[in-house]
């Protein structure tokens, strides 16, 4: 932490453009009518297709791989075998995470690329060729039940741990504060409860694909589908010098973090790169089933012991988990970050077995769900309104809000804002909580179903700039502006809010500013803007670059130009000649003199003055290119921003079906840059959260380890009729450490809401249900199964 003067939360929020609704995202029309080119649409001349052979079994080793008939299939150009030493199967940059190399002879989980890949003239030829391979398998022990894996002497992931089936070789303690044993001695009540959360899988919108080509001079073009463009540049750089790489980002179907978390985007790219390098033809790698590769951090068994007082204050929390979590922060990280609970402990055992080591899609779901379950259980045990229990325990790192605030005020944050209180006020009103909340099992609907409401709350966690980022601002010859970033499109609509920030800071019309979608051959590296902390991390670079660009324009607006023509110097006075930049300002793409606002010049005039006006020569406007780097604040304390969410359900006790009647999402975003986009993350994420909490689980065959529902017929992604009306509320307490006190929320709608139906179902029927709250789990809880 270096810069004590870097306090972007103190930066003044521009009075226009920031916070406005009703702007249209720059690519909206082309996306809507389907002319937007996605990576899977990219077609190159003489392109070949590459597909992996995918193992369906959960474990095994290839004893013998006969690809002789594979090679003979019409249209096959090359068969890439794992044991072909001339092929570079191991990357120096891209650590496979779940595999030692990209392709070898060993299967560790169902859905694994193994053995070989086929390069052919069409997908048909690939499919035909793959079928012709004859594989002799060595059956190896396979286990998809984590309890059995922990108890077993067989090894399932000897590549990760050659000694036993425990990750990190032992039980671990995570996130402890205080002394839970002591805490349990000094509280009014103790409850113990446990539940199971099933595995979810990312199901990105677009099957994973990558297009790569090398020409005969080693120049490379690559269309990468994923988040980690900077990494992929290094990856291609293992084949050719990086200055020969022309990186492209087409549009990408939403990935939500899954493919980067499980490295599938990297493996898909690697396949295209290898094939293209060998064949010297454009190669498109296609990995259809990739959508079902990947598990989330939430699955597993959670066992709680909680001590609390009659007034709702939670004194001690001891959580033991098997299988779940181990991603960023861990299960009780958000409980720790957002409450004053003084004694916390989380112990875990992470098993190794024949499932993918979980990653994240919409990071934070396990922590959000844990907080949800903790508070729902305590509130239920006390028969107390859970929103009240939340307020009583609000805080951070064991301290109360009152204890935390002085430091924050010292740091320059607004005093006297209580984010949770404000969120609750807005949310309870919008949701009509007072008429909907009731004791568990107390309300039956006219149609016989049981009515229930669920509530959860947690911190707004995307409030830190994780790292320094840079961006460039280009002012074009006609005075329009584009923002130079290394785009990594994974779906969210950042182009619009980022352009708003630049336009507002510069004093440009929003229509004159665009966040340029496909500029990769530049070093401006940002946190993948569509990733977890995009807003929090990237805003600093945007604001600083915009301010610099403005200052640059104002300087040139005062600077006379000299035009050279036919050996003569022709003076060209500046519109504000004789003035200094501090006397000027900008509004709506027009520069004006502050004390004489009718004295104006357009940005276009200033650029063209200095860029040359002779039509024979190039317009030289590069002096209007500026760039800036953000910093990391000196202090990044506990997040004080909050989010809280409400759901209303009807439980059919005959069939176990849980219908989601309505919902309300409330997020404190610090400062809202674009409320339409924020709402999009709220209701959009909620659909995913409800899918994960109320519908989806990956089902394995315990015998073979194969996945039984790895397709969109049997793995139910929710549709338009599956969730009732959703209201979205925005709170702005300027609580983040980013510019304007802004906080990101890309994960929150999904990650924080996963456990909501479990809480709501309890409120409906007075029984706790495992997650997802599917009919079988509900009926089991009702004792009917």
């Amino acid at each position: 932490m270096s810069n004590a003067h870097y306090e972007p939360w103190k930066w003044e929020v521009p009075k226009t453009i920031i916070g406005e609704r009703g702007h249209i995202p720059p690519d909206a029309h082309t996306k809507v009518v389907g002319t937007a080119e996605f990576t899977s649409d990219v077609v190159r001349p003489n392109m070949l297709y590459v597909k992996y052979y995918i193992a369906q079994r959960g474990a095994g080793r290839i004893k013998k791989l006969d690809t002789s008939k594979t090679e003979q299939v019409d249209g096959v150009v090359k068969v890439l075998r794992y044991d072909d030493k001339s092929i570079k199967w191991a990357s120096d940059t891209l650590k496979p995470g779940n595999m030692t190399t990209f392709l070898n002879d060993r299967v560790y989980w169902a859905g694994h690329p193994v053995g070989f890949a086929v390069v052919a003239v069409s997908e048909y030829a690939c499919d035909q060729a793959i079928k012709k391979a004859v594989i002799e398998w060595e059956d190896l022990p396979c286990e998809v039940d984590y309890n059995k894996a922990l108890a077993s002497k067989d090894l399932y992931r000897e590549d990760i741990n050659p000694q036993n089936n425990i990750m990190d070789k032992g039980e671990k303690v995570n996130n402890a504060i205080g002394d839970v044993e002591e805490g349990f001695k000094h509280c009014d009540h103790i409850i113990e409860f446990e539940y199971e959360i099933a595995e979810n899988t990312p199901v990105s919108a677009e099957p994973m694909t990558c297009v790569c080509e090398f020409d005969n001079d080693d120049n490379c073009k690559i269309w990468f589908h994923g988040q980690a463009f900077n990494t992929i540049e290094e990856v291609v750089g293992e084949f050719v010098p990086q200055n020969k790489i022309d990186m492209h980002s087409a549009f990408n179907g939403g990935t939500f973090g899954g493919p980067i978390s499980h490295q599938c985007e990297g493996w898909t790219a690697w396949l295209a790169i290898i094939a293209a390098y060998i064949t010297r033809r454009p190669c498109k790698s296609v990995w259809e089933d990739c959508q079902f590769v990947g598990a989330d951090e939430c699955m597993g068994h959670h066992k709680w012991k909680v001590g609390y007082n009659n007034n709702g204050k939670i004194i001690a929390v001891d959580l033991d988990t098997v299988a779940s979590g181990m991603m960023i922060g861990g299960e009780i990280s958000k409980i720790k970050a957002s409450t004053c609970i003084p004694n916390l402990r989380h112990t875990y055992v992470y098993p190794l077995y024949n499932r993918v080591v979980p990653g994240v899609f919409r990071d934070g779901a396990v922590a959000g769900t844990c907080q949800n379950m903790l508070f729902a259980h305590v509130a239920a045990a006390l028969n107390m309104d859970p929103t009240e229990v939340a307020l009583i325990n609000d805080g951070g790192d064991g301290k109360t809000l009152a204890e935390l605030e002085p430091k924050r005020v010292e740091e320059g944050f607004p005093a006297g804002r209580d984010s949770l209180k404000e969120c609750l006020e807005k949310g309870k009103k919008a949701f009509n909580w007072s008429s909907k909340y009731h004791a568990a099992g107390a309300r039956k609907l006219p149609d016989g179903r049981m009515h229930g409401v669920g509530f959860t709350w947690t911190e707004s966690w995307q409030n830190w700039p994780y790292r320094r980022t840079r961006c460039g601002i280009n002012v074009r010859y006609d005075g329009t502006v584009d923002v130079i970033y290394r785009r990594s499109c994974t779906g969210p609509l950042v182009a619009l809010p980022y352009a708003q920030v630049v336009a507002a800071e510069m004093g440009m019309k929003l229509d004159d500013v665009i966040y340029q979608p496909d500029r990769h051959n530049v070093g401006f590296d940002t946190m993948s803007e569509a990733s977890s902390s995009g807003v929090a991390t990237n805003l600093g670079a945007l604001v600083l670059a915009a301010r610099k660009a403005k200052q640059n324009l104002l300087e040139y607006a005062c600077k006379d130009a000299v035009t050279f023509m036919f050996g003569m110097e022709i003076p060209n006075p500046a519109p504000f000649t004789g003035l200094t930049p501090d006397k000027l300002d900008m509004k709506d793409s027009v520069i004006f003199e502050k004390s004489n606002p009718s004295h104006t010049a357009t940005v276009k005039q200033v650029v063209q003055l200095h860029a040359g006006w002779n039509p024979i020569f190039q317009h030289e406007y590069s002096r209007f290119f500026t760039e800036a780097e953000s910093d990391i604040p000196n202090y990044m304390d506990t997040a004080l921003g909050r989010q809280c969410h409400f759901v209303e359900v009807a439980v059919d006790t005959n069939t176990g079906k849980v219908d989601i009647l309505s919902a309300c999402l409330v997020n404190d975003v610090g400062t809202a840059i674009n409320p339409d986009v924020i709402n999009g993350q709220q209701y959009g994420g909620f659909s995913m959260g409800m899918g994960r909490g109320n519908a989806q689980e990956v089902v394995y065959d315990p015998v073979t380890g194969a996945k039984l529902n790895d397709n969109m017929v049997f793995y139910p992604i929710l549709g338009i009729g599956d969730v009732g009306p959703i209201s979205c509320e925005i709170v702005e307490t300027k609580t983040g450490y980013s510019p304007y006190g802004a906080v990101g929320l890309g994960e929150c709608g999904c990650a924080a809401t996963m456990g909501l139906t479990a809480a709501a179902v309890y409120n409906a029927i007075g029984k706790w249900v495992d997650i997802p709250t599917t009919p079988n789990n509900v009926l089991k809880a009702l004792g009917k199964a």
Partner: protein, 321 residues
């Protein structure tokens, strides 16, 4: 996207045409194609017939009309057209509702009633790509993988011919409840007798036999029918369990599906409610009666309760129609 194997393709000009093509062997018919295309794309079966006989080119095979005391539906009638047809909605409500709840709007615009009642089962072992589970329904083995694995959605009424897969059709139980007959190129079969455990098929059809028409006797005026379906999602999903009920002045017909290899009449439940005023209590009892003979597999006991629930709710819906 995974690709289809090459096939020969014939456009049938008539049912006779199609039968003749079937009789040449190594051929199968295609109607809407929404089951067949997926079955081929994912290599569900060990092999596929080389020739596809397109039935959609047979003229006048998609009618929906009342005639001579029957509702007559051509086998090539689209599910969406059946669902939206005013006569069907009014007098054969269970069928309209069942057709409407089938699959998704696009699939209903492509899928036919003939195809829907002939569709293959949706057991996730049977359906796993590349014939990964070469089960008894594929014809090479005697194995049922559901017996020793996750069978949460499988049969709760035992295993006919050692198969635990359920029939996934939504229209099937409605046809049984409405006492339909299936007219083929060879014979007329009572709906109740139409389904079977075949390899890999789900019907009693011979290899050269094609469904031509569905006939439903027009229920007496005052009759009421309804259809209900339990699924995770509102749309797209196959049923976990569904049920169709017809209540007439003389009795009731209750048919469940997705609970057994074939649609299953709940005759004991029918007897219980026949001619009686339907109360919630009676409907509950009928639901329980309908599953009295159910036998759980290792992890589908919950489905027995869910079935009782759906039967109950369908009876109430029909009574209040």
């Amino acid at each position: 996207m995974k690709t289809l194997e090459i096939f020969e393709h014939i456009n049938a000009k008539s049912f006779e045409d199609a039968v003749a093509a079937l009789q040449k062997g190594n051929a199968e018919v295609v109607a809407g194609g929404t089951d067949l295309i997926g079955t081929r794309r994912f290599n569900v079966l060990p092999s596929n017939p080389a020739t596809l006989i397109n039935l959609k080119t047979i003229p006048n095979a998609d009618y929906i009309k009342e005639e001579g005391g029957f509702l007559k539906i051509g086998a090539l009638a689209k599910l969406e057209d059946i669902a939206e047809n005013d006569i069907v909605k009014k007098k054969y409500a269970a069928l309209a509702e069942a057709a409407h709840k089938t699959a998704s709007p696009h699939l209903r615009e492509m899928g036919t009633i003939g195809g829907n009642i002939c569709q293959l089962n949706r057991c996730w072992f049977f359906r796993k790509d590349d014939n990964y589970y070469d089960c008894l329904r594929k014809g090479n083995t005697k194995t049922c993988f559901a017996l020793t694995s996750d069978n949460r959605y499988h049969s709760i009424f035992g295993m006919e011919k050692m198969c635990a897969a359920v029939n996934p059709s939504d229209t099937a139980p409605a046809l049984v409840a409405l006492d339909a007959s299936i007219v083929t190129t060879k014979r007329t079969i009572k709906a109740e007798e139409f389904w079977a455990v075949a390899i890999p098929g789900s019907t009693v059809l011979d290899s050269d036999e094609i469904v031509k028409e569905i006939q439903i006797p027009t229920p007496a005026s005052g009759s009421k029918s309804a259809f209900k379906k339990l699924a995770i999602r509102e749309s797209i999903d196959f049923p976990i369990v569904n049920c169709a009920v017809l209540i007439t002045s003389s009795g009731a017909r209750i048919c469940m599906n997705a609970v057994h290899n074939k649609p299953r009449r709940a005759t004991d439940a029918e007897a219980l409610i026949s001619g009686k005023t339907i109360t919630e209590e009676l409907a509950t009892q009928a639901g329980e009666k309908a599953v009295e003979k159910a036998v759980a597999m290792s992890n589908n006991k919950w489905k027995i309760a869910a079935t009782a629930g759906i039967v109950k709710e369908t009876i109430l819906a029909a009574a209040n129609a």
